[in-house]
């Protein structure tokens, strides 16, 4: 046991005592959070150059309203009220008479001005926008810009012109203008959980309002965190075992400890790395969310399940990867085996969205009870607010424990033979033979 511990210590320190580990510890959440975090961090980085937009109003009713609206907007949104720092561009609208004789020539002139940088965009408002009937081209509103599809001004125009036109139409219909807001009120359909009985008092509890955070973000964060930890703890075992074999370190180590102790040392070392990172992120996450007042969103009940499934996933995959690594003779062999070996984590990645949307469907249930996928899929189902039958995580847990024991046993047998077998690409038939004969 002391030897295994010494091997674990080396494996652990070899991973943790590197600059790459520290850098990864910081970068990994950023990479995994992807654009969301980047967008959050870069939210202040807005181009505050004023934007000039030419308006061609064929309806004759929108331009004046727009001029008033943009004046209001520029007064309130361009400068930060406290710091007086410019935080948004001012929109400058320039109302131009439409050229009815040669509209295409006018469009080209304006487009060329945009190309030259003299103008940001131009807006064409169809003549029949007040009552959109007849040919569509007569009531269309067209916004021409270099990157019109993702332009904030287009959104502002949408949200300004449409409510105004609706009010005009309501007035035209003879309805009291003061009732327009009431008529146009938009009522959101609220997402609510199920009503349940309080176990302590026996009273019926109010249904909880479910938010996107609970329904989507919490399960997804746990899911991706597990994916990331598996990639850090189990994935390198394929490569490092192959290296130890090809650099003949394995032979020296086998002179010191038994093959299964060698493999156990590597797998537990990888597990220790993952658990370290998991503790850092989870404790850091709890501390951070607690500090910014989002403590209610921390899924404390899920944390033990997270760790149980994480340990099993890494032991299961780590043993498999160490066994496969022992069968490889060069980095190319290891590269070829990486994808098939990682199917238990990659496959859940491909299907997590439908599972999250319908966690109680039979598709989700059966897949999450298939042991190689259980840790990741059962975790995401359990974390979803829908609630899955209480027996399922336990059955999944028993299944994955038995399967992990089986993989460790098979992996150990393959490892023992493979680690000393030189030459030739790893073949499934050989590995089966080694697993059976031991």
């Amino acid at each position: 046991m002391r030897r295994v511990f010494r091997m674990v210590k080396r494996e652990y320190l070899a991973s943790v005592k590197t600059k790459a580990f520290i850098i990864m510890l910081v970068l990994m959440p950023v990479l995994m959070g992807g654009s969301g975090i980047a967008m959050y961090l870069l939210r202040g980085q807005v181009d505050t150059t004023d934007k000039q937009v030419t308006v061609l109003d064929r309806s004759g009713i929108v331009a004046d309203m727009l001029l008033k609206a943009v004046e209001e907007r520029n007064k309130s949104a361009v400068y930060d009220k406290k710091t007086r720092k410019k935080i948004q561009p001012a929109y400058i609208l320039d109302v131009v008479k439409p050229d009815e004789k040669d509209p295409q020539a006018q469009r080209l002139r304006l487009s060329d001005r945009i190309r030259l940088g003299e103008l940001h965009a131009f807006l064409e408002i169809g003549p029949n926008v007040r009552h959109p009937k007849g040919e569509q081209s007569t009531f269309s509103i067209k916004y021409h810009a270099k990157n019109a599809a993702v332009d904030n001004i287009r959104n502002w125009l949408n949200n300004t012109i449409n409510p105004y036109l609706r009010k005009v139409r309501i007035k035209d219909a003879g309805v009291d203008e003061s009732k327009a807001d009431e008529i146009m009120a938009w009522l959101q359909v609220e997402a609510m959980g199920l009503v349940s009985v309080d176990e302590e008092t026996g009273e019926i509890k109010e249904a909880k309002r479910t938010s996107e955070v609970e329904a989507f973000i919490v399960p997804v964060i746990l899911f991706f965190l597990m994916f990331m930890l598996v990639m850090m703890g189990a994935m390198p075992l394929l490569q490092t075992t192959m290296e130890e074999k090809t650099q003949r370190i394995a032979e020296v180590l086998l002179g010191c400890l038994k093959p299964h102790e060698f493999m156990a040392g590597k797998v537990i070392g990888g597990l220790a790395v993952s658990l370290t990172v998991a503790f850092i992120y989870i404790i850091g996450g709890i501390f951070f969310l607690g500090n910014i007042g989002l403590r209610d969103y921390i899924p404390f009940a899920m944390i033990p399940w997270f760790f149980i499934f994480l340990v099993l996933e890494i032991v299961m995959l780590g043993s498999l990867l160490a066994a496969l690594g022992s069968a490889c003779n060069d980095p190319k062999d290891a590269q070829n085996l990486t994808f098939p070996a990682m199917i238990p984590v990659f496959f859940p990645m491909f299907i997590f969205m439908p599972i999250l949307q319908e966690p109680t469907s039979s598709f989700a249930t059966w897949l999450s009870l298939f042991p190689p996928f259980t840790p990741m899929l059962m975790l995401i189902r359990k974390a979803a607010p829908v609630g899955i039958p209480a027996w399922q995580p336990w059955v999944g847990l028993i299944g994955v424990m038995l399967f992990t024991a089986f993989v460790v046993w098979i992996g150990g047998r393959i490892f023992r033979v493979g680690i000393l077998m030189q030459g030739g690409a790893p073949k499934l038939s050989n590995m089966i033979k080694w697993a059976i004969r031991g």
Binding site: R6, R248, V252, C256
Partner: protein, 303 residues
């Protein structure tokens, strides 16, 4: 008492019989040299003694115990190809291997050996910065640092310069003096002759020699005539009763065919040229090796 007792072991890899019905006893406190051409089964035998691979049949007893499936802290093993973590520092690696083997701290022993093999200045350098010879010395230390009772060295002198060969030789002899039993394989016949109490030769998986140098040489008798002459090799051709001549430039070794009189051959040489010196000797281990595994043996086998 024998430290290693090997009884009729056989090991097959696919169609190749790497070791064939081999038996061997290694007495405690001895230095046992394994010789044999490349691919003859030396490393396989050493790995079986180490329990890294198991024989298909037969028994191996180490310290009077069958040890299948176990790695013993009482045995130190230096494999043929050196295996060290390149990114680890020398001292760190030696402590790791030593602790892994013995299950205890070996800091003192590591410092002792680093000093002894003149590697103290390199203790905090990474393995990847060492020269081949230094790497080999580090690997040697990793084998002996846990103070094993049985030390198995697979070609410990390969790639070392003469100074380092002497250093490792002296270290091995010192370990033996302290009571360790040493088994090593080598291609250097001089080292085997000078260091080993017993020599074992394996050829094509079978044991072909086993015993002390004297007992091995006795089997072949005094059939070698070493001469230094004025005329050199050119005057020694076509001598009756000579099977083979080995030319070493200034010295020639003549192997006398069975039932031939060396006096008669010497007279014939003296009639041809001036003889500066002559010696009737037993064949060297080098010569015996070639007789068993060299081209002439192959010709005999083919014939």
């Amino acid at each position: 008492m024998n430290v290693v007792e090997i009884e009729n072991i056989t090991k097959t890899f696919g169609a190749l019989k790497a070791v064939d019905d081999l038996s061997l006893n290694v007495p405690q406190g001895s230095i046992y040299g394994f010789i044999g051409p490349n691919g003859s089964g030396k490393t396989t035998t050493l790995r079986m003694i180490m329990n890294i691979i198991y024989p298909d049949s037969g028994k191996i007893r180490i310290f009077d115990k069958e040890m299948r499936g176990t790695a013993s802290e009482r045995i130190g093993y230096l494999p043929e190809e050196r295996g060290m973590y390149k990114k680890m520092k020398v001292r760190e690696l030696l402590r790791f291997y030593g602790e892994l083997k013995s299950g205890r701290k070996v800091n003192k022993e590591v410092d002792y050996w680093l000093d002894k093999l003149d590697l103290s200045d390199w203790a905090d350098k990474k393995i990847e910065t060492l020269s081949k010879g230094m790497g080999q010395k580090v690997q040697f230390i990793s084998t002996v640092v846990s103070q094993p009772e049985l030390i198995i060295l697979d070609e410990p002198f390969t790639g070392l310069d003469p100074v380092n060969v002497e250093t490792i030789k002296n270290a091995v002899l010192e370990l033996r003096t302290q009571g360790a039993t040493v088994i090593f394989s080598t291609h250097d016949m001089n080292v085997a002759e000078n260091m080993c109490d017993f020599i074992f030769m394996i050829f094509k998986g079978k044991k072909v020699l086993d015993g002390t140098l004297v007992s091995i040489q006795d089997k072949y008798g005094s059939d070698t005539l070493r001469v230094r002459t004025e005329g050199g090799i050119s005057t020694l051709k076509n001598l009756d009763g000579v099977e083979k001549i080995a030319d070493f430039g200034q010295l020639q070794e003549l192997r006398i065919a069975p039932d031939n009189d060396h006096q008669k051959i010497l007279s014939e040489i003296m009639s041809r040229t001036r003889v500066y010196s002559f010696e009737l000797a037993k064949p060297t281990l080098y010569d015996i090796f070639l007789r068993i595994a060299g081209p002439e043996a192959k010709e005999e086998t083919d014939a």
